[in-house]
Amino acid sequence: MGKLKTALIFGAIAILGAVSLAVIALHQGESISAVWIVVAALCVYAIAYRFYARYLAGKVLGLNARRPTPAVRHNDGLDYVPTPRNVLFGHHFAAIAGAGPLVGPVLAAQMGYLPGVLWILVGAVLAGAVQDMIVLFMSTRRDGRSLGDMVRTEMGPIPGVIAQVGVLMIMVIILAVLALVVVKALAESPWGTFTVAATIPIAVFMGLYTRYLRPGRVGEVSVIGVVLLVLAIIGGGHIAADPFWGPAFTLSGTTLAIAMMAYGFIASVIPVWLLLAPRDYLSTFLKIGAIVALAVGILIVRPHIQMPAITPFIDGTGPVFSGALFPFLFITIACGAVSGFHALISSGTTPKLLENENQIPLIGYGAMLCESFVAIMALIAATVLDPAVYFAMNSPVAVIGDNAASAAAAVAQWGFHITPAELENLARQVGEHSILSRAGGAPTLAVGMAHILSGVIGGEAMMAFWYHFAILFEALFILTTVDAGTRVCRFMIQDLLGMAVPKMRQTQSWTGNVVATALTVGLWGYFLYTGVVDPLGGINSLWPLFGIANQMLAAVALILGTVVLFKMKRQRFAWATAVPAVWLLICTVTAGLQKLFHPDVKIGFLAHARKYQDAMAAGEILAPAKTIGDMHRVIVNDYVNSALTAGFLFVVLTVVVYGVGACLKALKSDQPTVVETPAEHELTLADEAMDIARA
């Protein structure tokens, strides 16, 4: 009876999903409603969760509800706390949801909506959610240890150290590219710059409030903070129009980049309660609120998708990022489909809070499906815009020129029509001087969100408010990530330097703190600055580097998962992790080699360097360089990017070699060789009786 019911319900879901996917894929000509994409996604998630996650839990991993989790074994009420699954789900989702799933799909929209939708769905179901789930499983079986630790104990000390250095390199690139997204959104925008700047005094006020006035009252201070933020957004409009303050808050990209570095340094060396922690409250709650608002907005407004299903840019000639659909689509949409960074979260706090192993599918697999849905919504927000607007906003100045007339002419050549007046009018509606060449994802998403949310509340009159609300929410949580990430990198660097100079390891020491923080900020600041002055917009070269790094980390986590399955003597199920790992390796290694050796100067770093070297030899100076010194710097940057790409390739290929070695060794043994915390006291008979009584 129960089986029949399940079969009927999921049969219906399967049919509905198949119909929606058919509409999405086969529809030509007239635009389709975004609701089809939402329905298709939800059906795919439901089926994947009900069948594949259950299969992974039962057959592949063999979850054991009787085996005590770290939270149960070490319950101390502080770090290890058995937490109700709904509560933990919310915590885990808030920790994995960041700017990545919002930015990647927006950039990938240049190839049309279909490739992005398919990769987000297939990637999440077969790779991303599998990775999150198995890492959570492995860490839970090992007292909540970190990914780097697990690589060391299961694969050996050398791959362990290599993986840790890899994580540091990835962090640096992530911080740089996220900071670049904010700079791109705020450059020449007094309204946006003012509201984001206003978050600093607001956060400091909140910090003092929770420290001295009403200690620990996070709820009320967050409400006050949100009210102040809304006032800052409204006030920003007046500031931007002011003849004195307007120009004062109109900053160039380079000024903003330097300000961000100074700010990132200060924010991460001062006590966390003053600025970092209170802004974290604001950004976390605003993030969840904005995601919910977007979901509700899409369902109420039911906007139509304007972007074609597939554009000609799948051949790699697109203006937003260079490179063909394979491998670059799978690099560009990282978070949302599969994100290596989640492996760090799933082996962080979450396993220490897990009540029971049988909740691993919900927390690990389920939360990733939600993240994937966020990516789907971001893709919808970008594709409901007129494609002409999308390309005018995301193409670099070098391609579309610096005014509305040249931009309209450029996008007309690609077959998308808009008048210069319409472009200028849209900029006025959202309260900006110009919306041209604002690559980076955030402004496009903000226009898309303003388009959807103003359809629910306020109409055109509120467009500017919603636009700046969206910019603020993205900037706020990116800045929180940048500051918190700078601190994390600082601790990693102090740890590494401590190998040579033991004094550096003391995290309380002021010298160690300042030196390591300055090094961290210098590292991401370097990539940020080169990104800002890049004539192709920076995102063009930095985002693929970030994508490659993030997907490689995912490959490392999935290789570890495969090794662990072999060592558990469950190798006949190892395809569940091995297949996505191999796919990610194919994509990232191909993309890495293309970034190094591709003859097109827009893709290959070395080809780009050679072009500048040849020009120098001929005595010419190429833009953006103005002097021979600039030319040298461009070439040095290309070599730095090349070295970094080669470093990523080295990290992942070494881990592959060690991973294959560990699997072969495990095959030879006829005993499981996995290094788990022993299940010393499985639940006793009395517990069992309790279990039965509860059920």
């Binding site: 502080l78 706390v81 933990l88 200690p215 996070v218 709650f285 809070l353 990530t481 995290t507």
Partner: protein, 84 residues
Amino acid sequence: MPRPSSSSATTGGADLLCACRDTLVRWGKDARRTAGLMIGQPDYDAYVAHAAVTHPDQAPLDRTAFFRLHEARRFGEGGGFRCC
């Protein structure tokens, strides 16, 4: 689950109201707990209950000390990992 047929309609209604209220209160509590954990603050009441069972001889941390401890940990060494 079917209720005994002897219970009158009024008590059934009151029971339902009670059940609804309990559910709402539980949801509210869960929502507060989730929001707290999202910013790195676990449930204080759960901690006090736990401390009373395991260390009845020691006074538990007060709310402020508990708050500050977790605030420092979230951004301290080994903490603060956040997704991109």
